[in-house]
């Protein structure tokens, strides 16, 4: 900030104050922005450029890589891995829908019905965050373990027969099935859905509910016509905050899934860190980025909350 703004001389003070910012004052925002923006340019934008260049390189680890504008890599990568792409979008989409379904009642409960328990419930939503999410995901291995109480109960109730028939589980197992991966994704990203939902619900004036009731709306109608539309900003940002990270996640698929549940994140990770095929890995991550950005843009347009961005 401008530290040395001298008090105006007496003669000048007599004149009406004219707001003419000095050149130095005009530069203040740029100085404030400089370090942070530079950081993002060097460590966020520039890496994207490098990754773009990597994706059109050919070569091998021994001989070195060279830019040969080999766009074929994109097509090959997509052709080889489209099942994993589709699976990622399917799993992430299902997890997002489940998060909304499970998160809405809790957010609603905290915003309108909790009373003096509100802060306690909020703490209970946030606190699990602080136990490393990897530890908590490993805990799901214990919960869903073969022969464990959860599997046994679902088996006795014949739920697993139904989910197996639907292709979500295999036999009397839960671990290493699509259902386990989706369950893990839902669990890990649920708070990212609940918090925005809660924020937008909490802003709603409860007198609107009373007004709707006075106008003979049933609770269901009040929810459909008043509460839900007003919570749309929370629904939109919650959906984005769950879907985007879930689509690139590989932790849940690795810890709770099997080779049949590999998502695109698992492929990118192993291409980059194990197989060391950098061009394919780069191409895959650009395809993922493009798909996610397009879906997000379309979604935001349709949800009609462009001011969110």
């Amino acid at each position: 900030m401008t530290v040395t703004e001298a008090p105006p001389p007496v003669a000048a003070a007599a004149e009406p104050p004219v707001h003419k910012p000095s050149v130095r004052r005009k530069l203040v925002p740029y100085w404030l922005l400089l370090p942070g923006v530079l950081w993002l340019l060097v460590f966020f934008v520039l890496p994207m450029v490098y990754q773009a260049s990597t994706s059109v390189q050919t070569g091998s680890l021994e001989k070195g890589f060279e830019v040969t504008w080999h766009f074929q890599t994109y097509w090959d990568a997509f052709r080889d891995y489209y099942p994993q792409f589709l699976r990622s979008l399917l799993y992430a989409g299902t997890a997002t829908a489940l998060c909304l379904l499970l998160g809405y009642p809790l957010a609603y409960l905290i915003a309108f019905k909790a009373g003096r328990w509100r802060n306690v419930l909020l703490i209970l939503v946030i606190a699990p965050f602080f136990t490393s999410f990897l530890i908590r995901t490993l805990a799901w291995k214990t919960i869903l373990a073969d022969g464990g109480p959860v599997v046994e109960t679902l088996n006795t109730l014949h739920v697993l027969d139904i989910t197996s028939w639907l292709g979500m589980t295999e036999g009397d197992r839960l671990l290493a099935t699509p259902l386990a991966v989706v369950c893990g994704l839902t669990y890990n990203f649920l708070p990212f859905m609940i918090l925005p939902l809660y924020t937008s619900l909490e802003r709603i004036d409860t007198r609107l509910h009373e007004a709707a009731g006075d106008l003979y709306a049933t609770p269901a109608t009040t929810f459909r016509k008043v509460t839900f539309p007003l919570s749309m900003p929370g629904v939109v940002s919650g959906t984005l905050l769950t879907f985007i990270p879930a689509s690139g996640d590989y932790v849940n698929a690795e810890l709770l899934g099997s080779t049949d549940t590999r998502m695109i994140g698992n492929v990118i990770q192993s291409q980059y860190l194990r197989i060391l095929d950098y061009p394919t890995a780069a191409a895959l991550s650009f395809i993922l980025m493009a798909v996610v950005l397009i879906m997000v843009t379309v979604y935001i347009r349709r949800a009609g909350t462009e001011d969110l961005v």
Binding site: P47, N119, A139, K141
Partner: protein, 265 residues
């Protein structure tokens, strides 16, 4: 039946809460387990061994302290840089404002793995050795946007007339900033810092790509999932949960006290 219908929201909400809490309960219970074999997946018998010796596993506490250091430094970096950007964006009109807003938004709207991979592409191309510094650089980068968002929200809801009033009362720019602006913005800055710390401490995907042979705590847990999970991991998980709850509750109590003591004035 009537009762069930009336309390449907409460029941469903509490069900979701149980879904959120159950893994923590499991982590806590299994921290008292005396496992048979390398993996701590099945309950054997009660034991306090792991609690008596939380650092008893090679490299575990080293990785923990490394993660704490990285989280502390990246929180400091991201909070300072992010707060500056947030003030510039809210308080000044200048060209390129829209562009910079999108630049800040983009890291949040991108799957983490894309950023992780592209940073690795940069470091590989430049021949930078992966380790402490590359992790720190990456963490400051992705925490930055979250700080900007948190501080911006707070500064936006701040009444600019308070600062005008300070100036009318002959406070200089520095005095205005330190005694009026900063205290009002503080909750936003604190929220941003807390979020940075949590995000950095818990980050796995970006660290996995850019850590080389350096092992942070999440990397240790990840490795242990393959080699065998020591009970000590559950102990640390439980302790983290307990500390977080204590800190949050203490914060609540203090702010409630302040509100109460502030009233009589």
């Amino acid at each position: 039946m009537q009762w069930l219908r009336r309390n449907l929201v409460v029941i469903a909400g509490l069900g979701t809460l149980a879904y959120l809490i159950v893994p923590n309960v499991v982590v806590t219970v299994f921290s008292f387990n005396n496992p048979n074999g390398r993996f701590n997946y099945a309950w054997q018998e009660f034991s306090l061994d792991a609690w008596k010796d939380p650092c008893g596993v090679a490299d575990l506490c080293g990785s923990l302290s490394l993660s704490l250091q990285i989280a502390a430094w990246s929180t400091l970096g991201a909070t300072v840089l992010g707060t500056m950007i947030a003030f510039a964006l809210v308080r000044y009109r200048f060209r390129a404002r829209g562009t910079i807003n999108s630049l800040i938004f983009l890291p949040m709207a991108m799957p983490e793995i894309v950023m992780a991979a592209s940073l690795l592409a940069l470091f590989l191309n430049m021949g930078v050795e992966l380790g402490f510094w590359t992790i720190l650089i990456a963490h400051v980068m992705f925490c930055l946007s979250f700080v900007v968002a948190a501080v911006k929200a707070r500064v936006l809801s701040m009444d600019p007339r308070l600062e005008e009033a300070a100036r009318d009362l002959y406070a200089g720019p520095v005095q205005t900033f330190v005694r009026v602006t900063l205290p009002i913005a503080a909750p936003g800055i604190a929220a941003g810092a807390l979020l940075s710390f949590a995000l950095s401490f818990d980050d796995f995907i970006i660290t996995n790509f850019n850590s080389g042979n350096t092992v942070t705590f999440p990397m240790f847990v990840w490795g242990s999932a393959q080699r065998g999970t020591p009970v000590q991991i559950n102990v640390i998980g439980t302790a983290m949960f307990a500390i977080a709850v204590i800190v949050v509750v203490a914060g609540q109590v203090i702010s409630n006290r302040r509100k109460k003591t502030a009233l009589p004035h």
